[in-house]
Assembly symmetry: C2
Homo-oligomer: 335 residues x 2
């Protein structure tokens, strides 16, 4: 089952989307918003699934689905916890600045508390006041949970996963060092993120969803040129069950909590950072990683961070090259 | 005007509370929840104010208000950003561990992104799985905002303050060092917080609300004994307008965002950390500060962190000793 929130009001309007993303059926009679559906999932899920089946059969009124009309599936959420599950990415970035990475990073997930009071729509511009802030995309996978009790096990956490989607976790790289030096984590350096037009239930992902990981190439483009094709199912040190259990260690998580994977990143065949796409590699899911590779190779980064007018695109396709979640496509614009 | 959310459902039931906290009138016909009211404040506020006036005059059906029946005013929220505006507190804690505090801490607010998907009710127990985690209270003031545009000035931010309340920002002190060492800020070390039974509009605070600060002794008790009486209006380096503007530098804040002051802390008359209440001082709003003072004086802390069965109480009274926000009173219990 695929769900989306059409723009409108603060929380959008819940619709069921056909598997090929061509059509939608209004789900307002079942639940007005995705958050309302998640709040009452046990009752609502079978009704939504019934509607989705009818939509596939053309047995209900339907309209054309346009990704441009979609807000992020949860236009605002109560929880956005972003992990850093591709430890390869962390190790690489640290290597470039000659910083050791503690061994514990391979066993104890890194996670930061994100802000969730307003997300960008997947085709909305990224408002950037100052290019000097060093704006970067981070292409990631994220899940939406139901209620997760405090102290949940990995298995309980996996059972609580309701939906899977993609995210562009916008980061202001040049604000990060000073902010992290204050030792309270990210705040100004992590402005609003954007999620894919469509959120998908794990069962609808078929073989691509297994053991709490999503497999498939995460296609990242900058200004129409491929930047990354890393497989989200490869080199993910912590699966989503582990990430959710980490988040729920000392507190319950409410229905509608979003948990992110961190920037998707694959090692090269030699165990190193891997090559850019145009050199036959799978490339990178953020500019910081490319800049790190440039720094390691040439002593300095040559690719700049995002400037006004740059366009970022993030998408995943299935085996038949059909889009799974729709595309995040955002132009950086002056705020 | 005073507002509360009676327990019920995920978001409670909005009521208007009389100034003396004795009575409430159901506000469901105006807005079902406080978040719904904040989402549509321009339309809703005058209606709620009319109801509040009628309640004071006994002109509407009313029922007894019991603080035990109240959830936190926003039982869950989209944004919880906690500042550290009493820089005295930060300087003191750093001094105890012989760490320098950067000069910039006096001009650039410290703020961490908190989790907001579920808050404890003000009289609910604090669920603590492991006493070794070092559970502490932090008595603070917090405000609820309307919509704040990206890049808002301090003055615009002050205009966006809708409500004022108290908060117990529960902290797990012994999880903090390892978590901060990972450099991604707090996550597991900041479990669910609890807010005062009642949230109050700034105008209803009279002289106590001025220039974005709340004046008055923040009464903190541990097991019935006074721990702190620090004045929230004293030694607050950053007022709420400055804190909100800091939070909104790179992104807009949605209606219903909660911004906290950080632990309230006053210097002693000599500029030092000040004395405990039983030695004639204003004491401390968290155990960590008391333990810091003990460490500075005797080389080691003697007061333990909270144990199962301990009871924390946080309240503020007006000039006539009447409670302003109601009391947060929480027993620590095994999870």
């Amino acid at each position: 089952m695929k769900l989306a929130s059409l723009k409108g009001g603060r929380d959008g309007r819940l619709v069921v989307v056909s598997n090929d993303l061509a059509w939608f059926a209004d789900a307002g009679a079942i639940a007005p918003t995705l958050q309302a559906a998640l709040d009452d999932w046990t009752r609502v899920e079978p009704l939504l699934r019934g509607l989705a089946e009818s939509l596939e059969h053309g047995a209900v009124p339907r309209e054309r689905f346009h990704e441009h009309d979609a807000a992020s599936p949860l236009p605002r959420a109560y929880q956005w916890a972003d992990g850093s599950a591709y430890v390869n990415h962390v190790a690489l970035v640290r290597k470039a600045r000659a910083a050791d990475m503690p061994e514990s990073f391979w066993t104890d997930p890194l996670m930061y508390q994100g802000g969730s009071d307003g997300f960008l729509a997947p085709r909305d511009p990224i408002p950037l006041k100052d290019e000097a802030w060093g704006c970067d995309m981070e292409a990631e996978v994220a899940v939406v949970t139901g209620d997760v009790p405090m102290g949940a096990t990995r298995e309980e956490a996996l059972d609580a996963i309701r939906l899977v989607m993609l995210v562009n976790d916008v980061s202001l790289r040049n604000l990060i060092p000073a902010e992290l030096a204050k030792n309270f984590g990210f705040f100004q350096s992590k402005p609003a993120s954007a999620f894919s037009p469509v959120a998908v239930t794990p069962d609808a992902l078929g073989e691509a969803w297994k053991d709490g990981k999503l497999s498939g190439a995460l296609e990242v483009e900058l200004n129409g040129k491929p930047l990354g094709r890393a497989d989200a199912g490869v080199d993910m040190t912590f699966d989503f069950g582990t990430l959710i259990a980490h988040a729920a260690k000392t507190r319950a998580l409410g229905a509608g909590s979003i948990v992110g994977s961190g920037t998707v990143s694959n090692r090269g065949p030699d165990g190193g950072p891997g090559k850019p796409v145009d050199q036959g590699g799978v490339g990178y899911s953020c500019l910081a990683e490319l800049r790190t590779v440039e720094t390691l190779a040439h002593g300095a980064a040559s690719t700049p961070f995002l400037k006004h007018g740059d366009v970022v695109r993030i998408e995943m396709r299935d085996g038949r090259r059909h889009t799974v979640f729709g595309a995040i496509e955002q132009e950086v614009r002056p705020a």
